[in-house]
Amino acid sequence: MAIERDLELLDDLISNRLTGEEKEAFEQRLESDPTLKNEYQLQQKLVEGIRNARVAELKTMLNNTPIPPASIGQSLLAKVAAWTVVSGIIATGIYFLLNKDQKEVVENNNKTVVENKVASEDTNKTVTQPSTTPALEEKSAVEKTEKKVVEVEKSSNKKNKKAFTDATRKTSSTDVAQRPNVFDPTGEDQSESNTRPDQPQAQIGTESITEVKASKLEVKMIDNDRKYTFHYQFKDGKILLYGSFERNLYEILEFFSDGKRTAFLYYKDNYYLLNEDDDKIKPLVVINNPMLLDKLKEFRSKSK
């Protein structure tokens, strides 16, 4: 049985607390004393067990430590991908926002035009109504006009046609002044007798003064602009198309009326109005008016 002092020395040896000389002297004693050596081996295993228990404890603690997932922002590629996605979402959002605004403006314009027509028609009616017209007929006419206004709100195309028909019966100077100078091929289906001579839309219907032909306008593509990806611009007599249009076929359709040109872009089965009032870069807005679309399709097939 080892004595207390020897056990202390054993403990110091196992826990690395003996100095060089002490360690050497005690190790020599261990070699010469088998009982002490046996005790040393036992104590060594106990301490090893204590150390293992501590390692297990620390490992359990580490295993219970939640590891954060690999951060997206850690790799450059992931960062670039994230920025691309965000930019794409923003660009799409802006495009649809602008598209919506443009549509609303066009629809509002159509509505205003037709409503103006109806209003002026009503005024004219009062003026030109023959004195022999029964009161009932007048009432009926007013009702019809009101009905037309309601219809306009329901379908701007239908109202346009109706308004044009009515408008050709009476001439109103205020109507002409209020009417925006925008080409409308839908006027073409009106008969010559229904045509208003002061309206470009009406004149287009007469083949002698309206000319539809494939464009001779010079078109330039700009497909590397980061800001403008589906836009156009009239500059120095050329049309600049911003975006990757060359991947698909496109056509420029020109309509001439009273020496004024109205151009449209046909691209991927859609038509876009090319407004050359100024040389600003404008987004391409798809035309949704079915009647106008029918006319454009008709003209396009003719010009082929």
């Binding site: 081996q41 106990l46 090893e48 067990g49 501590r54 620390l58 580490l62 590891i67």
Partner: protein
Amino acid sequence: MVYKSNSNMDEKETSERICKGDEKALEFLYKKYYRMMTKLVISNSGTEEEARDVYQDALIVFWQKARSGNLVLTSKMSTFIYSICQNLWRKELDRKKRLSNEEKDSSVVLDTDTAEREKIIAKCIDQLGETCKKVLMYYYFEEMSMQDIADKLGFANTDTAKTKKYKCKKKLDELVKAQYSEKDFLD
């Protein structure tokens, strides 16, 4: 406890906290370098589990050195831990290679004996009280001084710590000897 990241101050702060035995700092370090360290093993024919084991072992070596006052950092902490991981994984690969060349039967017998002994001691350690376990672990694993143990565990002085350690060790000794004969522990 709040840790900032990626600055020399943080590295210094973490190192100081680890030296003082702050286990939260060890957890912080573990999370911080987990991907970097495990990648070393995984990209060298190791599994995710092996990578985690090696990294944990490396971190424990680092912890032990820091706690015992034997840590002399001449490079960044991450570089130091990385080199420990490299050494441990190299050893593990050598062990695997050796094992595949040796007769497996004898190795199994040896491993079983060792595992049995470890199991006996672990069972006896579990029977000790929490303070006893802490005193013995701090003394033998962390190699803390009696003064540090007294401070850490709130003992009145070093003598109290010394006495506590003596009694706990004796108790463990008795538990082990009471259940198993001395020869069971001799190779």
